[in-house]
Amino acid sequence: MIDWPLVSVIIFLPLIGALIILFIKEEELTSINIKWAALLTTLGTFILSLILWIQFDYSNPSYQYEEKFRWFDDFNFFYHVGVDGISLFMILLSTFLTPLCILASWNNIKKRVKEYMLSFLFLETVMIGMFASIDILLFYIFFEAVLIPMYLIIGIWGGNRRIYASFKFFLYTLLGSVLMLIAIIVMYRNTSSMSIEFLQGNYFSYNTQLFLWLAFFASFAVKIPMWPFHTWLPDAHVEAPTAGSVILAGVLLKMGGYGFIRFSLGMLPEATEFFIPLIMTLSIVAIVYTSLVALAQTDIKKLIAYSSVAHMGIVTIGIFLVNQQGLEGAMMQMISHGLVSAALFLCVGVIYDRMHTREIEFYGGLVQRMPLYATVFMIFMLGSVGLPGTSGFIGEFLVIVGAFKFSSYVVIGAAFGIILSAVYMLYLYKRIIFGTITNNKLADILDINTREKIILIPLAISVILLGIFPNLFLDPMRLSLELIITNYEIVNAK
């Protein structure tokens, strides 16, 4: 093992990069130094986080690389961070996507580049910190702090209705998370501990669990988001700049799923058992309803945003099946969705940068002019549909296998959603890419350039890699998930 505080270094490296950028003088027009500093910092963070994966001990279900320091003298709050199989890939996802985001905004962010890069680096710190924290208060602080940079990113660099979208995003998610704060304090009061590890030992009476569960549900259901709490998402996605949408879809939505696994399943098993029918109903409604809504969209980003809600519905089904296939499927679906939807938003960004519109009507026949673009877009589109061989397939397949053990109605709902997802994605693809060019403005559109290749090709490779070698990802998380399932089953068998 490594004897230096690797996790803390990964958490705070972007923040240090941000401090350095604060003192770099911003040149006129290009701000090239700031961009390079941000890119190098995030790349460095990504490389360090790869060490986490390489050195990860697959046979250890609990936290690794732990660091623990006393933080508050009067209460048992610790600065306590570590990585286990569940958080490992969430951290990797964050560190992988952030450099791509910086690259994606290389040319299309023209105003306030310094503030933009500062926001992204701060965002990266809080995202990684949130996934790595083992102390709930620390988790909460990072969880809420995410709102600050995201609010600024949507509000300053967003589209026309950015102010509405940023306020809705901030207040909606804040409303959810303050209730979680109350729940956290109640938990602390009952157990005198804030350690996520410790609290998974089931200390709460049944009635307390129900209330705690609802409070956590309020915050995670908004974050993930579940129908009917999803209305902030289309607005935020559409108005955010490309890189903002990428992080939003790629990482922030996963915070909800991650929270469900850690808190609802891990700490409140009996209440979870009680609320499973609710979750299943909401998830199936989400899958079918938002898929249909996606079908009717005229804005590409909005379509992908709604498809995110549908995919997250599969994730919540998988999580609350509470069996090995379901949870592994949910985790795979989260990772896959993190890559695929991020890539789709980047793809939309590519044509948006050229044409400055996201209307589906505007496009058509892009394959004639942009063959390479059509190819990568197809990979991600198929990944989103869940074609075997892409990452999307593994997650959906495992969830459906797991769902058979639970109820065939759930399977029908989920499968119906998957069919619908094929419908709206293929339909989108047909309208944008195929056919002849009807719009004269598209006549001299250029294919993706080197920078865009550098962004999209690693994503395409990882989508396929995930689809062909899922065990690469499933093996490290298996034992950690098993631990949660065993605990859940022991408690509920009583």
Binding site: W71, F72, D73, D74, F75, R112, E115, L137, Y140, I141, E144, A145, L147, I148, Y151, L152, G155, I156, R162, I163, S166, F167, F170, L171, L174, L175, V178, L179, L181, I182, I185, V186, Y188, R189
Partner: protein
């Protein structure tokens, strides 16, 4: 020990009183720069008073035992009030010179008011409490109306005076009832007398309610808050800063001591009143602030909201509550010092900033100031990782310790609503496109800059070493 007569001057209150008169004479005999010199002297006097409070031992107060009390809680709040007073004198100096209001009496009024507050915090007797309240209020009435040629300043002074006098009357009536039914004015005696009974009789309940109303007026809790926005708006900005920062500290300490010392056994009777005041203040503060376009009115409603949270901790009425109140009050003071330090240095077209919309474009012309304002606003909204979050966090810990779940949920909901108007300020600075750039200029004196940087440092860096403040506040006893 008082066997040496000179030691009497080392009692902080007496020292402050004597020094205030010295300052008054000093200002009177100065021909040039009277205002600046007196301000400096006042700051120096207050600094010395802090030292005296810090090293003050209980024996010094032995002779005044019946009138005043002595505890770590009292000392903490005294020091807080003194610090707030120092900060507001320093940050307002340039403002007064800027609007050509050079009366050297202003820092002296602040000194007397601070003296009143120290006595208020320490008072252990209904009579001394009343006199202390009057001492601080009278100085504040004059301060609010100090800009004689401005109608709004005079109006705010008169409004404050009339409503303040009314509330004092109500307070005094309550005192008379309490005295009539218990036969004593001393907090400890009242407490001892009441401990013999299981419930309060009707007269005492009336007395308690009247006193609560009077105190609610002083802390500007809803529904006795009406004066706050008007007085904040009308008074010169720097006086508003003083109003926002200091008197609240003393009034909060007083309401805590009044509830928890003489009436500690009658939790049920007063907690219902405080509960209502708390919920009403949080929600009204949050909702009314949304519609404000004047930054001073907005801060007035924001302070009403903050009072609501502090009263949650009072309803909790446990050790955690006292701890929460002192942490919250500290964070409240720091945040207000920081925001007023900025407001008193921002000029739009050579006028001091009033309208929130004038902040438009600040993020371009002065990125550091707008970043600072954003941090203060997020901290006030209670967003981690800033100090404001920890204030609220401790309040909720105290409330949940007492199983006040519903109150806590109300509290967090109100905090979401209030986040809206704090975010609005950030929105105006960052999101709105401004056509008229460069009309805002920011000039700050070196001393204010130190105060501002120090308070920003505390707001941001509290999270890294919270134990320093928390250990102090955990050891406080009422």
């Amino acid at each position: 020990m008082l066997n040496n007569i000179y030691n009497i001057f080392f009692i902080p209150e007496i020292f402050l009183a004597c020094s205030s008169f010295v300052c008054l004479l000093f200002g009177l005999f100065l021909k040039k720069n009277a205002f600046r010199q007196t301000s400096n002297l006042a700051v120096f006097v207050l600094l010395l008073t802090i030292l005296l409070v810090y090293y003050d031992s209980e024996s010094n107060f032995a002779n005044y035992k019946s009138l005043f009390s002595h505890s770590s809680f009292i000392n903490f709040f005294k020091i807080l009030a003194l610090l707030g007073s120092i900060a507001s004198i320093i940050i307002s100096k340039d403002y007064f010179l800027g609007i050509k209001l050079k009366n050297f009496e202003i820092p002296i009024l602040f000194l007397f008011s601070t003296l009143g507050m120290m006595l208020m915090i320490a008072s252990n007797n209904l009579m001394s409490m009343y006199l202390a309240i009057e001492l601080q209020s009278l100085s504040l009435y004059v301060a609010a109306a100090i800009k004689r040629d401005s109608i709004s300043s005079a109006e705010s002074g008169v409004k404050y005076f009339i409503l303040g006098a009314l509330s004092s009357g109500i307070l005094l009536y309550g005192f008379s009832l309490i005295y009539g039914f218990t036969g004593s004015m001393n907090f400890d005696d009242i407490s001892f007398y009441l401990s013999k009974y299981d419930n309060l009789n009707l007269g005492l309940i009336f007395g308690l309610v009247f006193v609560m109303v009077g105190l609610a007026f002083k802390v500007s809790a809803v529904p006795f808050h009406m004066w706050t926005p008007d007085v904040y708006e009308g008074a010169p900005n720097s006086i508003t800063g003083f109003f926002a920062i200091v008197p609240k500290i003393a009034a909060v300490a007083l309401i805590y001591r009044f509830c928890l010392v003489p009436f500690e056994n009658f939790y049920l009777e007063w907690s219902q009143i405080i509960l209502f005041l708390s919920i009403a203040s949080m929600f009204l503060g949050a909702i009314a602030a949304i519609a404000q376009s004047n930054i001073k009115r907005l801060l007035a409603y924001s302070s009403i909201g903050h009072i609501g949270y502090i009263l949650i901790a009072l309803v909790a009425a446990n050790d955690d509550g006292i701890k929460a109140a002192s942490i919250y009050m500290f964070s409240y003071m720091i945040m207000n010092v920081a925001i007023f330090a900025i407001l008193l240095s921002l000029k739009v077209k050579n006028e001091y900033l009033i309208n929130i919309t004038d902040l438009k474009g600040l993020s371009k012309s002065n990125p550091i100031v707008s970043l600072s304002i954003s941090i203060i606003m997020l901290s006030m909204a209670g967003i981690p990782p800033f100090i404001g979050f920890f204030g609220k966090f401790y309040v909720f810990i105290a409330a949940i310790e007492q199983e006040l779940y519903v109150l806590s949920v109300f509290g967090v909901l109100a905090s979401v609503i209030s986040a809206f108007y704090y975010l609005r300020i950030i929105k105006i600075m960052y999101f709105d496109e401004s056509k008229s750039e460069g009309i805002i200029n920011f000039q700050i004196s070196f001393q204010s800059k130190i105060i501002l940087s120090l308070s920003l440092f505390l707001i941001i860096c509290f999270i890294f070493y919270p134990s320093l403040l928390i250990n102090i506040s955990a050891s406080l006893t009422i």
